[in-house]
Every structure is written in C-alpha cells, then in structure tokens.
C-alpha cells in the first residue's frame, strides 16, 4: 500500500471514528429541515438519490409507458458527540410517497423524532404509521409555532393515537437548545426501552 506523501492514518481519533444516525420525520412543513439546521455543527447539506428503476415500477402501476427519473432529497446535519463518535441527523424527504423507495432509510438508525405541527396534526399521521410499521423507536415533538394553540399533551396523544409509553415533548425547532432537548428525550426513551429488554432476559 502506497502511503508516501499521504498524511493518513493521521490522528488516532480518525482511525477509530464511528457514526450513529437519527432520523427526523414528520409531515410536510412541520419543521424537519429547521430542526436539522438548528442543531447541526455543520452547515446542513443535501444529498440526492436518483430513482430511475423504482419510478419505472410506479409508472407501470399507473399505466404510463415512459420511464421517468425522480430525485428525492435528504437534508442532513451532524453533531460531534466526542472525538470518536459522530451523530448524523437526516430529515426525511418531504414527499412521503417516496419513502418506500428509500431502501433502508431507517435501517441502522438509533431512532426517530416525529415532528408534529399542532395546527395540522393529520400531516404527521403517515410518519407515525411508518415508524410503527418499520418498528423504529421514536418520540413525538410538538413544534410550537407562534400561532399554535396550547393543547394539553394528553389530548394530542389521543388525537395521534399513540401508545402511552411514547414520549411527547414540546419544542421550538428553530432553537438549538430546544432541538437538542428533543434528541436527549429520544436517547433517554431508547435507554428505557433497552433497560426493559435487558431486564426481561
């Protein structure tokens, strides 16, 4: 292996660095990109997936002969947890109908935050269903918009039809600390779930 004039392997940390990922889901316009932006250490970026084959299948379903190309975007950011661990945050694509094309989008994720706009609860129904279907552990974050009414959490829990053990927290996705607190709530929830699994052994 030719490492001449190549400063790698450099720092010890670079040699051991690993990653974890957390998904930010929710309906269109609930603040997913805003949350990624507010809590990320780096300027948030966008990565694209071109779906040619998969959209061909969709086209066949709806009886369109021409193969079209579809691009879906993922906004993402990252947080340095320590010298050897990086947390990547991915906002799910706005067009929910493309979720199923994202092979393994949630695979390997620690869990997810489902953002909910209390003025339009229904826009996040699909995201919650999807987490349950894919068995992804999640917390619900109520993004409090300036003109949002104050709903009691229990009322919202009922309306969203989520089980009592799933945490529901209020947040302001524009605020770094508030968004950080949502992630903290998610990791605490994951720890509790894990503890239950370990105890039952």
């Amino acid at each position: 292996m030719d490492l001449k004039g190549f400063d790698q392997p450099g720092s010890a940390a670079a040699g051991e660095t690993r990653s974890v990922k957390v998904m930010i889901a929710g309906g269109f316009g609930t603040g997913k990109t805003t949350m990624v932006r507010s809590v990320s250490d780096i300027k948030p970026l966008t990565t694209e997936e071109t779906l040619t084959q998969a959209s061909a299948d969709v086209d066949r379903l709806i009886g369109v002969a021409d193969k079209t190309e579809t691009t879906v975007s993922l906004d993402f950011g990252k947080i340095s947890i320590n010298d050897s661990l990086v947390l990547y945050l991915f906002g799910t694509p706005g067009q929910e109908r493309f979720w199923f094309l994202w092979n393994g989008l949630f695979k390997g994720a620690l869990g997810a935050v489902v953002l909910v706009d209390t003025r339009r609860l229904a826009s996040s129904f699909r995201a919650i269903e999807e987490m349950e279907r894919q068995n992804v552990p999640f917390v619900v974050a109520l993004n409090v918009f300036p003109d949002s009414k104050d709903y009691p959490v229990e009322e919202i829990r009922d309306a969203l039809d989520i089980s009592p053990h799933i945490p529901v927290v209020a947040c302001d996705a524009r605020d770094r600390t508030s968004s950080r607190d949502v992630l903290v709530a998610l990791i605490r929830h994951l720890k509790e779930r894990s503890a239950v699994v370990l105890e039952s052994r």
Binding site: F6, T47, E49, V86, F90, K191
Partner: protein
C-alpha cells in the same frame, strides 16, 4: 444547416453513465452502504486514477459520511456507491457502517446510548 445542439445534458445522466462506465448499481461490499456509512482513505490516490476516485480518496483522509461525499461531489447516492465499490474492492478506502442501537447478537447497546446522551448534554 441546423443550429448545433448544445452538448449539455441537463439531467446529468450522460455524466453519470460515463462516471460509472454504464453500471447502474454497486455490487459486493458497497451494496450495504448507508448514507451514514463513514468512508476513510487507506491509500493515496494512484497516478492516472479516474478524477472522481482520486477526489473521494482526498476528501476521506478524515472519515466522511457517504451523504457528505454525495453533497460535496454533487453525485446522487447510487452513482457514488458504484464509485465507492471500485475503491473498496481495490482496498483504497474502508467503509464503516453506522452503529445500530440494537445488535442482533448482543442485544441493546446501553453503553453507546450513554455515550450519545452525554455528548448531547454537553452541547
């Protein structure tokens, strides 16, 4: 005589075709690549190497996720995965998948969750 057509391809499909030599998806070790998989260079760019390959190696001296590489190089995930497969096969880069919270063999990884939690609390 007709006006010459502009040689640009707004969809970028031609460029992708050239970059990947017509391959549509990665095989082998690269087929499990995740957007959060970290890529780390293991060797210097070789002389005469395809520009994009050399660029990936240069950018990954420090670990970089597949998503970041895609954003920096303006390449969609599936095209990038084909290029990464070449480099993985040649042993020029290493891929590290994201750590899952729950390992099928070992069960829940409480130490990992604790590590993430203390990192977040320091923010």
């Amino acid at each position: 005589m007709s006006v010459p057509r502009r040689p640009t391809d707004p969809s970028g499909l031609e460029r992708y075709y050239v970059l990947t030599k017509g391959r549509s998806g990665p095989g082998g070790s690269a087929s499990s690549l995740d957007v959060a998989t970290l890529i780390v260079s293991r060797a210097a760019p070789a002389p005469g190497m395809q520009h994009e390959h050399a660029e990936i190696i240069r950018r990954c001296r420090e670990p970089l996720s597949v998503a970041e590489l895609g954003a920096h190089l303006h390449l969609p995930f599936n095209i990038l995965a084909v290029l990464l497969a070449d480099l993985l096969e040649a042993g020029r880069v290493e891929a590290r998948d994201p750590i899952p919270a729950h390992d099928a063999g070992r069960g829940p990884d409480l130490a990992l969750l604790e590590e993430v939690l203390s990192g977040l609390e320091r923010l």
